[in-house]
């Protein structure tokens, strides 16, 4: 894996000529194959895992947009609009015109495609330009892309209808556009980067944190250099304009809800009230080393969960970045370490934030292999280590995303819905068929993701406390409410039990025939 050599440059033209394939196309083949593998990992059997409460909630919101064509940004309980608009776009392509018609695959295709797109973006970002300069050799950049394609959190949350993968991919896209602008000086790349920043802001309000860390990394590693643009100030303004326009279009629901612009700013006030020093605990507070444990390993319920191979290589890549005067590597290292430190310092922690550590870690891991391959007899060793790392990541991704995607011990399956929730829809449809005129009641202090599974059924109601009349074709009550509900059913009912998630049980009352 000698540094700077392009993939297949020695033999490709001859092979290409023989088979009539353009050399440029042949050079892209490894990256295309890698992107295809990444896409398959992210789209295969998407509907199998039960919907997490957050996915269900956002799925219902997307369904309302699909059905009524209306969306209004909610600064209190929801992130930005991009996820919903993209979900609605996929629904349109798939011919799903209502909430009832919407399915899990449609929703999860949004982060899945975004997650797959991140892989070629990282390879393009990491790869040294043909004219030389910073970055990795072609094979090392491909190795970095492979690590991102296979990393357990990257695959898991690409199959999960939340904003995090969209944000991580948009961050990569902005980095690629900025690099193109830096080297080409073309204003259009500044506009593309700006639009990417606007998209990031319209995805999650935490965007300033990522931009701030990226700015610090740039200042610390590249402050002395100058871009190719003759008028960087004008390009900066063009980029800022594109960012503001993109974010404004999305937050204002494309001009249909101008209050969304005000709400886009007020979201920080709500965040202060929710996460400030005086705010009550959210239940998601964790120790400072939570993310370090996710990046390392943990043993739970007889199973070993880790991404130690990627983390070990990334640590080696940090050492390479410290020694090499490569601004891309150093910038990536500073960004990765600062993001990890910032998110670790914040008490509120959820595992999907780990998605943001993977691209810098994968790039640094590629750098470690690149440095190793430059040594004498290093290429074989680098290739062997890469194969071992790929095997290790692949095994963990198979375990976390395919074998046990909703297992309570899976560190990525955070407060996940039990597989029992999949029984709710058939039960409700049977109850509806048996007693068409009667309501379906959900009486529980917590009920997500049930609204997703009961979508499209008429006369479904939700109560957090038992109403005076609890009768219905089917009544689902939390165990805390079950005694009261039974007393108010008005007739005998068969009882069965479903788990909403580990440790939270519900009782299903079905009237006796």
């Amino acid at each position: 894996m000698p540094g700077g050599r392009r993939v297949g440059t020695d033999k490709s033209p001859a092979v290409a000529h023989r088979w009539g394939v353009p050399p440029a196309l042949l050079r892209c083949l490894p990256l295309a194959l890698l992107a295809a593998v990444a896409l398959w990992l992210r789209t295969h059997d998407l509907a199998r895992r039960p919907m997490h409460a957050d996915e269900a909630n956002q799925g219902v919101k997307t369904g309302e947009l699909v059905e009524a064509g209306r969306y209004a940004f909610d600064p209190r309980d929801h992130h930005g609009p991009t996820l919903y608009y993209l979900g609605a776009a996929v629904a349109t392509v798939r011919g799903q015109a209502s909430l009832a018609a919407l399915d899990e695959t449609t929703l999860r295709l949004v982060p899945a495609v975004a997650g797959a797109l991140a892989v070629p973006l990282l390879v393009i970002l990491a790869r040294r330009r043909e004219s030389g300069g910073p970055g990795l050799s072609g094979p090392a950049a491909l190795a970095a892309g492979t690590f991102l394609a296979l990393a357990p959190p990257a695959v898991y949350y690409s199959r999960y209808f939340i904003q995090e993968t969209l944000l991580a991919t948009a961050t990569l896209a902005v980095a690629v556009a900025l690099r193109c602008w830096w080297h080409s000086g073309l204003t259009r790349w500044a506009v593309v980067a700006g639009a990417g920043v606007g998209f990031m802001q319209a995805t999650k309000a935490s965007t300033p944190l990522f931009l701030g860390m990226a700015a610090i990394a740039w200042l610390l590693t590249r402050a002395a250099a100058r871009p190719a643009s003759a008028r960087p100030g004008r390009d900066l303004l063009a980029g800022l304009g594109a960012a503001a326009l993109t974010a404004a279009l999305l937050y204002s629901s494309f001009g249909a809800h101008w209050a969304g612009l005000r709400d886009a700013l007020s979201v920080y006030l709500h965040a202060l009230l929710r996460f400030g020093a005086e705010a009550p605990p959210t239940g998601h507070e964790k120790s400072w080393h939570y993310y370090l444990q996710l990046l390392g390993w943990s043993r739970s319920g007889g199973l070993l969960w880790h991404q130690a191979a990627l983390s070990a290589l990334a640590l080696a890549g940090l050492a390479v970045a410290a020694r090499r005067r490569d601004p891309l590597l150093r910038g990536c290292a500073v960004y990765g370490v600062f993001i990890l430190a910032a998110l670790s310092a914040f008490p509120y922690k959820t595992p999907w934030h780990a998605v943001h550590f993977v691209p810098p870690a994968a790039l640094l891991a590629g750098a470690a292999l690149d440095a190793l391959a430059r040594r004498r007899s290093g290429p074989a060793l680098a290739a062997a280590i890469a194969v071992l790392a790929v095997f290790s990541l692949g095994q963990q991704t198979r375990l976390t995303s395919f074998l046990r995607p909703a297992d309570g011990r899976n560190p990525w399956a955070y407060v996940h819905s039990s597989s029992d929730v999949l029984k709710i829809r058939p039960l409700a449809e049977a109850a509806r068929a048996a007693r068409p005129g009667e309501p379906i009641r959900v009486i529980s202090e917590e009920y997500w993701p049930l609204p997703w599974y009961l979508r499209g059924l008429p006369d479904v109601g939700y109560w957090t406390e038992a109403p005076a009349d609890c009768g219905g074709a089917l009544v689902i009550a939390s165990v805390a409410q079950a005694d009261t509900v039974r007393a108010r059913l008005g007739r005998p009912a068969r009882e069965s039990f479903v788990g909403l998630r580990p440790g939270f049980l519900c009782v299903v009352f079905s009237p006796e025939p």
């Binding site: 597989s419 805390a480 069965s496």
Partner: protein, 219 residues
């Protein structure tokens, strides 16, 4: 008195008379592991759900009854469990901690204890998993001398109320797993094999066993 309580009262009276008058009968002594719940379980009081942590009535067994299953061979519909080994089921370790239970695959799965010879079985005790409040679905416990369970099968417990496991509809109550597990009277049923079915639980689609104990008198 409410007339619907009459059959219950009569049953209790008859049961108490039978136990009190049964010669040579003693309460079954079962050793329970320490509770593993980390948090405070929600109070659960349901008509067909055993109250969590409540002491269940003693099961009366013959004085000669003893533990027959310790160290006996266990087979399963999932012959290669990913977590744990089938031998854990009869090794006497019912602590429920990591490394002390076996995990079987999803959907309906069974485990079968071979006592080595036919016995008069007084009781079967089982602990699925007791470090979290969960209910196992479609629990069915059967005794037979036929290792295939095609003939001479006696069912001593069945809470599969919709017959989803295709073993017949049951009317026994579901229960929340605790360190007390579940101890079932077998009333002297004769058999060499004890087979236990389950079909996932309220937390996941998998099936677990910490321990099974079979009490009785060897023939």
């Amino acid at each position: 008195m409410n007339s619907r309580h009459l059959p219950l009262l009569l049953s209790a009276l008859l049961g108490a008379t039978a136990f009190a008058g049964a010669p040579g009968k003693v309460p079954l002594a079962v050793e329970y592991p320490k509770p593993l719940f980390a948090g405070t379980p929600r109070p659960i009081s349901l008509s067909n759900l055993e109250p969590a942590g409540a002491k269940r009535p003693d099961i009366m067994v013959s004085a000669e009854s003893k533990l027959l299953s310790r160290g006996k061979k266990v087979t399963s519909s999932d012959s290669l469990p990913v977590i744990g080994e089938l031998s854990f089921i009869t090794d006497g370790d019912k602590t429920g901690i990591d490394g002390a239970y076996v995990e079987l695959g999803p959907n309906t799965q069974w485990v079968q204890v071979d006592l080595g010879a036919s016995a008069k079985i007084d009781a079967v005790a089982m602990w699925h998993f007791h470090s979290q409040a969960r209910v196992y679905h479609d629990v069915v416990v059967q005794i037979s001398d036929d290792p295939e369970f095609k003939k001479g099968v006696k069912t001593i417990f069945n809470n599969d109320d919709d017959n989803s496991s295709k073993l017949g509809k049951g009317s026994d109550k579901s229960y929340v797993e605790t360190n007390h597990g579940r101890v079932l009277p077998a009333d002297g049923a004769s058999g060499r094999y004890v087979r236990l079915y389950s079909n996932g639980n309220t937390s996941d689609e998998l099936n677990h066993y910490c321990e099974i104990e079979v009490f009785g008198v060897a023939k």
